[in-house]
Structures are given as C-alpha cells and as structure tokens.
Subunit: 150 residues, 2 copies
C-alpha cells in the first residue's frame, strides 16, 4: 500500500519535519508532467511569519517558478491534509491536474466541507481529487502534534 | 468622496500600474494599526510566474514580514476588487480587522458570491467588510484592460 504512494510518503516526511520545528504538520509534494518531483515543502507559517505559507502554496509557488509559468498544467499535488479554501483556490488557479490528499479536515478544509472550492461555479478549473491516501498516518502526525501542545 | 479614501486611491494607482505592465489591474494597500501604510502592491501573477501573487496576498505577506507576525490584528486592507476565495481565506488567517473593496466580482469573487468565505463555519475569523468603495473607478480600470486585450 505505502509503496503505491511514494510521493505521499515524501509529503508525510515533510509533515514530520514540520512538527519537529513547531509548525502545524502538513507536508506537500508537487510532481511535474514527467513524473519528477518539482517541489516538496511543509508549512512555514510560524517560521516565515507568513499566514499564506501553507505547504501547498509553497510547492505551487516553487513549481511555477521552476517551470517559468503560473500554470502548472499536467502537474499533480500530494498533500497530507485536505486543502483549505486558500490552497484549493490556488490549486484551481494553477490548473493542477490531480490532487491526492491524506486526512480529511472537518474543521478547516475547503474541499469536502466549508467553501467546497471545487464545487463552486466561480471556480474555473477543477482538478481530479483523490482523498484518504495514507490518511491514518497523516492524521496521527497531526493528532500527536496537537496533543503535545496541550 | 475620493478624499475620504486615500488608501483606496493608492490601491487604484497600483491597479493602473498593473495594467501598464500587462497584469490584471487589481491593487491593494495594507494599513497598520497605527494608520500607516505597511504595504502596497498590485497583481504580479504573470511577472513573477506565481499563480498566488494576487495584490492582497502580496501586501499580507509583506505586512506580516514587516510586523514579524503571521497575524495582522488591527490591520485594514484596501483592495480595488472583491477578493477571490484564496485571498479571502488568507485575510481570515491573517486576522485582518477590516476589508474595504472596490468593485464586486461576480465571476471570480469569494466574498459575495461563490465560496463566500466569510460566511463559512470553517472560517474562524471574519473581518468587517465594506464594499463598493470607489467601485466605478476600479471597475473602469478592469473593463478598459480587458477591452484592450480583445
């Protein structure tokens, strides 16, 4: 099972690194049309004093810079947690082909709950979305992190 | 009327500069708790090859960097166009106090249409929102820009 999703495994490693540095443990990986990893990152909101520095935003920005285009057509995103509305809208703007995510985020998600960005008529690109990939591992990292903060 | 909104006037100047450089003409200004301008910017999506480089995102990121905090409590944002869902969610994350915007965005907005970010239960901070500020000027800049592209 794990071997089927090596990129999600990399994203989980990123999430674990985030936890170690006191960041909410979410990791993301952007994969180019040729299957090569374009960017891997974890949340840096606290470290960078940047409320927009979610893992997904960081890999989208880095990937777009590397490809020299604001459109990431044919690219796939792996992220350990359901994207929030900010990241989901950025994913749509970037024309990402497919989003694989781990755990669902009942409280802050913007895909299956809340703003449901990809279901809005104002969203002009909808990626294919596959949730629940290695979700137990992703959820455990988050749960352990918040338990340690209490 | 115009003199009542000097920061929106600055944001409109930013939008005009954006149009001149081929960017979708939207400008934004972030004002600190003391009333001083923390950041002013316009869209840089094309120039920076960054799908997240909306005017609002750029001033939020710069303001947070300047204040050394991912939270912009007591700060107000002026933007010439209704924010999209990405920017609205970033505004909520940043805990911005008040959002003044110009024209409504029926097609791409995330405040009054579509995702209606500030009305979602998953949005944990809702700024005060005042729309329609110098909206005719803001709308005209956008209309002229898109007409010139046809």
């Amino acid at each position: 099972m794990i071997d089927d999703f090596p990129h999600m495994r990399t994203a989980l490693d990123q999430a674990e690194a985030a936890a170690r540095s006191g960041e909410v443990p979410v990791g993301a990986v952007l994969v180019g049309p040729d299957g090569a990893v374009l960017a891997a990152a974890h949340n840096l909101v606290v470290t960078q004093h940047d409320p927009t520095a979610h893992a997904e935003m960081l890999v989208i920005r880095e990937g777009a810079r590397k490809l020299g285009s604001e459109r990431l057509e044919g690219c796939d995103l792996y992220v350990t947690l359901e994207p929030c509305a900010m990241c989901a809208q950025a994913i749509a703007f970037a024309r990402i082909r497919r989003v694989y995510y781990g755990a669902e985020d009942e409280k802050g998600g913007g895909v299956t709950v809340g703003a449901r960005i990809f279901n809005q008529k104002t969203t002009h690109h909808r990626p294919e979305v596959i949730g629940g990939i290695l979700d137990r591992q992703a959820g455990k990292i988050l749960k352990d992190f918040f338990a340690s903060k209490r």
